[in-house]
Symmetry: C2
Subunit: 208 residues, 2 copies
């Protein structure tokens, strides 16, 4: 049973994670102190330490929370297995993929994680398994099923999944890694990149 | 005329840049001091400051030096315009591309630059223009010429250049960003990724 106390604790936990995310992104991990996190979240330092034993634990919780958002996209990938219009539904998936991944906060977290990967190799490796690797695995399983249904032609589903992912995502993601939040990519431009990525993918992998 | 003094200065400058690169990669930019750089390069602190007015200038010089290595690859891209065996020569170019980019030091510099892009937006933007953007521009010009020769079919040479680049590079590069030097990619695996990237690219863009 959820008590009012549990609700307050959950709210505080969320406020601490939001404050820490904002500070880590703006000032970097080493440049952010637990004191500032407590002040920004408007809680006592004691409350911060009660929820997260140290800054590293808090960082890990933020990354874990970010990777948990992959689930919804993985569900959409799984649903594609039963498509009766591959061109249209794969294009829809690619558009959803690019707008899910190419968002300022997600890209900034990615940069933060790359910046801190030497300091926290386990957090980085754990994120990699839970987010990009899980997505590629779901795409590979879906493409294998579509090949079994005679809609795609491929030998290596994981390779095809990587090709799909990077045809769609890589150009805007690469720019964002060097320029931070990159608002030169309009929604229309992202949609075009998704559509063109699907075109190239199907030219190589469609069974028709 | 090059004097013996010039030669000594150039040697010291190189030693300082090599020491700083090694320290930045191992300890991060903020974690490295000019004192340590001088000690590692076996020169006086005064000599370091005579060559580089501050740590930021030294960082910029290292990144500029790294981006200057793009020239040789761009020459190879330009040479492809006159190919009389597109499949074979594009495969050769892709293999060269992947082994040029997917090297431990280059990947670590890329991670360092992504980590420091907020602190040094101009260094990051300058690198982006001199290295990836210049490479993509060279590929685009080459593909446009190959289209004019009737070997490729494309509307948007820059888009096709991005597709080629990321089909070849993205999978090993993405892993390396999260795992640091990633020695699970053997030379044979990199070659296979290059070959498969070319196969997908030509399926979409070959005029045959």
């Amino acid at each position: 049973m959820q008590t009012p106390e549990d609700g307050r604790t959950a709210r505080k936990r969320r406020a601490i994670m939001e404050a820490a995310t904002e500070l880590f992104l703006r000032k970097g991990y080493p440049g952010t102190s637990m004191d500032e996190i407590a002040a920004t979240a408007a809680v006592s330092k004691q409350t911060v330490y009660k929820q997260f034993k140290d800054k590293e634990t808090l960082f890990g919780a933020i990354i874990l929370n970010a990777s948990s958002k992959v689930g919804l996209f993985v569900d959409a990938v799984d649903a594609l297995r039963d498509t009766d219009d591959l061109d249209q539904d794969l294009t829809g998936l690619a558009r959803r993929y690019i707008t899910t991944v190419i968002r300022p906060e997600g890209l900034q977290l990615r940069r933060l994680l790359i910046a801190e990967a030497d300091r926290f190799p386990e957090v980085a490796a754990d994120y990699y398994r839970r987010a990009p690797e899980r997505t590629i695995a779901a795409l590979a399983a879906c493409f294998q099923r579509l090949a079994a249904r005679g809609l795609l032609r491929l030998d290596d589903p994981a390779l095809a999944a990587g090709h799909f992912a990077w045809l769609v995502l890589a150009t805007p993601m690469d720019r964002a890694m060097f320029f931070g939040h990159d608002d030169t990519q309009t929604p229309a431009e992202l949609e075009r990149l998704a559509d063109e990525g699907v075109r190239v993918f199907l030219a190589a992998y469609s069974a028709r």
